[in-house]
Symmetry: C2
Subunit: 138 residues, 2 copies
């Protein structure tokens, strides 16, 4: 199993706070590098997932870009096959596309999350990714 200590470019921050943590299965960490409440209008979070950790299905009204910085994980949009992710991968998630992302079962995973067009509002959180859906991903 890969080691969380390898996630060293941007510090992993604190355990995912409430209420966001309710939208994750397993332990995630969040370090906000830029908030959405200033002149930059560009929320940037460094998100680190422990092995097996993933978020629930959700949508971003203004879209989202993921920049993968380490480990191995998954991105899945509704109706599509899951896409395996490794360091250097870029995922562009269109406005209101239902999706989830998270670590592989046997690896930590970290990505930068950039919420684009954040004036369109926060993420809309939906149902969890079930164990049956997740455990078929290797």
């Amino acid at each position: 199993m890969n080691d969380l200590k390898n996630s060293v470019i941007f510090s992993k921050g604190d355990k995912m706070p409430q209420p966001y943590s309710e939208n994750f299965i397993g332990q995630a960490y969040l370090n906000m590098l830029s908030t959405g409440g200033d002149e930059f209008n560009c929320p940037i979070g460094n998100v680190t997932f422990e092995p097996g950790c993933r978020n629930s299905w959700h949508c971003h009204p203004g879209g989202q870009i993921l920049l993968v910085t380490g480990g191995r994980g998954w991105y899945q949009a509704e109706g599509e096959a899951a896409r395996e992710l490794r360091a250097g991968d870029v995922v562009k998630i269109p406005s209101d596309r239902k999706h989830w992302h998270g670590a592989a079962q046997d690896s930590w995973f970290s990505h930068l999350s950039i919420e684009t067009n954040c004036q369109k509002g926060p993420a809309k959180w939906l149902e969890p990714v079930t164990d049956a859906e997740y455990q078929q991903l290797r």
Copy 2:
């Protein structure tokens, strides 16, 4: 001297193209991870500077955020001391703040550049950073 090969998370891309290359002293590389011409409105470039390479003084009408991914470099805003940068550092450059950034004399340097509020227009490029200004930075 550190090795450019360490800049491996996001591929370093091609030599900085014209006309942008006219605003750099030394060799830089650019890999656009997201362009500004789509629904995300979020230009993201992976910029890699060889040792001694820096860009000219410039301003971004909508601001810019730098996320440092490797090496050692400098950021300087007009009227302020230069700030040394290493992996994990974040620089938030306000709208129309005159500044430059680049590598240290003895190290390559790479950062992600996020142009915020890009609808406010492209960078305004100004005079080069002189050798006298640059060579005093150690």
